[in-house]
Symmetry: C2
Subunit: 345 residues, 2 copies
Amino acid sequence: MNIREVARLAKVSTATVSRTINGSDKVTPETKERVQRAIEELKFYPNTWARALGSGRSRLYGLIISDITNPFFPELVKSFEDIAVQNGQEVLVANTNYDPARMEQCVSRMLQRKVDGVAIMTSEMDPRLITEFQDRDIPLVFLDTGTAQKLTSNIVVDYASGVDAAVEHIVGLGHTEIAFISGPMMLRSARVRREAFVACLERRGIGAGLMEEGNHQVDGGHGAMERLLSRKTRPTAVLASNDMTAIGALGAIHESGLRVPEDISIVGFDDIQISAFTQPALTTVRLSRDEIARVAFRALYGIRQEGSKGAEYGVPTSLVLRSSTGRVPRDTTGKMREDAGLVRA
Amino acid sequence: MNIREVARLAKVSTATVSRTINGSDKVTPETKERVQRAIEELKFYPNTWARALGSGRSRLYGLIISDITNPFFPELVKSFEDIAVQNGQEVLVANTNYDPARMEQCVSRMLQRKVDGVAIMTSEMDPRLITEFQDRDIPLVFLDTGTAQKLTSNIVVDYASGVDAAVEHIVGLGHTEIAFISGPMMLRSARVRREAFVACLERRGIGAGLMEEGNHQVDGGHGAMERLLSRKTRPTAVLASNDMTAIGALGAIHESGLRVPEDISIVGFDDIQISAFTQPALTTVRLSRDEIARVAFRALYGIRQEGSKGAEYGVPTSLVLRSSTGRVPRDTTGKMREDAGLVRA
DNA sequence: TGATTGTCCGTAAGCGTTTTCGCCAAAACA
DNA sequence: TGTTTTGGCGAAAACGCTTACGGACAATCA
């Protein structure tokens, strides 16, 4: 079943069939109609590869992420796919599993599939691989890591305003002992979030906050929170570098016999789906994956379509208030902790 | 950059280049070596579509799921991709968003991309669309919905044994008032799970359990649990049709002032990632997505590779014990509920 | 030594599209 | 009526690969 059979049935040339499929050029409505009927009658689906071979465009866009299993990504993937499909394009998703070797493999796969553009949403990225794309004039877009050039764009998330809103909220509730559980410091996005927090406290003249390092996973948040709880001065509010970390912290607090938000307030970051369903529901800084996906696709597709250039795109963050934050407890010393422990025992 | 340039540099014919790329046939090690060097020197990446056009095989497999945002799927996608890539194949993921129209679109996309096989992991599926694949001799594999035929396989999950293990566990803890929150009854998998539960109780001579219908989402579980709590005879243990439902139930119980597992035990189904991190961690029936993905890919790839036939594949379920289940409370009447409420008030 | 076999490799014909020309007929003009 | 313009369409050459076929050559056999 190919374009020739359609042409034969419609009594036109293959060129005309191709033209009506591509909706382009000048084809008489009647001819177009005739061809359409033939296509439907034969249940003809044009072979995308052959189309790509002929036209030099694959209508395929690569989306490289660290790990689809990380709750941050599914929404991103979904939104990206949605908008791509809306524009008649396809998406090739690839997981690097945080592994540089896999990343190299992903790049190779993209190159072989001759994608029309790649969105790179991982933190780790060998610059050598980037040039591999750029040498072939393949548009790129990065999330927070990269710089706008000819055909490559960069999305910069406004972490600062989100962190600022969170701190303002916390401070407004009377908290002064505020801690931060960061992500792994080797990640740029983790560093940026942390720096935003430090800068924010400084700006407000609040002493440097307590710091612990997590790993952007639940277990890291759990461990970091345990360390925070064992300090002489316990924080009354904790900001986490992402929601997974916050969930881990929630668990650690729960196990220690303290309550959220009565004893300690928690703020997350990202607003992943489950954050609305934890006990208590997590107050968090929302980073719209939908927005990121939209911008990323536009950056890639627009370059091809409208011949635009690589650019920087900002995406905002916003505070989502739920139940994990509350007024600072009157007694903020370690004493209360013992009480709480006794109550449970 | 194409195979011809490689051939020129290596001073061989394009056929020889093709042969060494495909690792096949008889090519002298020296020639092969020479070609390899040329490929690396030119950073040549063979054009997959042209390969597909020439060979009639795309090395692409479709994976149709309902919604990547549903926590059940990401692991499935990841495992499927992993094993596909290990075998030198690619995966095209498509979301139907539970929408028949989108499903039709997905099918069309798969057909245009000339995938070598499709794994259909959605519940809703128009039989008319299935034949679209079968007419073109494209291997198919279904999850729990479908029947083995020429080139189409079916994976059947052993829900019964999982439910059985859960009920045995619960009964072993002394519970006799056991409720079940089902999924939407229009879903086959939801019906099967429910039937397994009913049959299991019957087999054990325990009276028909309390039933509520959820929607496999958190809010459905929440609502269903509220209804269960307002009954005259409150259950002491609740099985949920999936983990999302169980998480909703957890929330509702928490809000009512009761505790899990002291007052009510909860068992989920699926063992999605977050279930290990809820408060308390969820006892649940594990359904290995990894296993499903592995079997599904084999079913598709094996048919092509070893010329096998469509078949039925079973995958087991197993009980994961965590903290949401405990011994039946001594006083199981509504009285305790008031107490608990008072304590909280 | 001539015939036979087998190995390695090149030639060239596809695969299913797109797209550049250029042709033809009809419309517009003189 | 003859000439130019135009719009719709067909012929055919790509696109980059795979693969059937066959040729050249060396090794083996009678």
